[in-house]
Symmetry: C2
Subunit: 110 residues, 2 copies
């Protein structure tokens, strides 16, 4: 519940991402154009990626090798995203329920 920050923090420039993934900068920018990844931008407009983005890119590269078109990859990504959001919602509901129960029995959070 915090260790995620290193993984999702957008701080890596495109050159390093290219080294780490083995993809050309051209391809990396193109996948952004096709909305497969969404880097942040620095003040002067330079792209910044997270480790998470890098992993995403490697998945994308694998699928591309199998001939999957970007449009289809995007669908897959959207499904994955939706799935995770639902999981998060379920977790939140669980926690809220637990909170209500604790309140009912006069328990203190700690």
């Amino acid at each position: 519940m915090e260790g995620e920050s290193y993984k999702t923090r957008k701080v890596i420039t495109i050159g390093i991402v290219s080294e780490l993934t083995g993809l050309s900068e051209r391809r990396i920018r193109y996948y952004e154009e096709r909305k497969l990844i969404t880097p942040e931008r620095s003040e002067k407009g330079n792209r910044k990626y997270s480790f998470s983005d890098i992993e995403q890119l490697m998945d994308i590269a694998n699928k591309r090798e199998e001939g999957v078109p970007t449009q289809e990859i995007r669908q897959d990504i959207l499904k994955e995203k939706k799935k995770k959001e639902e999981e998060n919602e379920r977790d939140i509901r669980k926690k809220m329920l637990r909170g209500q129960i604790n309140a009912q029995f006069g328990l203190r959070d700690k």
Copy 2:
């Protein structure tokens, strides 16, 4: 035993480190000269830092504000490092001992 990788992987350029820490690039380079941090280098010679380095830098900045000289900060860092190494050694010994005991009793690792 792997989640460390995001924290210690050296992938962040000095400009971003400067933004994240609020320190000038000049100061960041100087602290390297004084051996308070040790970034890696890209092929063409650009410095690359980890999140860990960034945290280290913020500690350094705090101590500098208190007037602690870099030379003293370096000593502190070395002590910290030694302490952690000893902890690691102890852990390894524990694990080895456990392994021996398991072998003695014919237990399988799994």
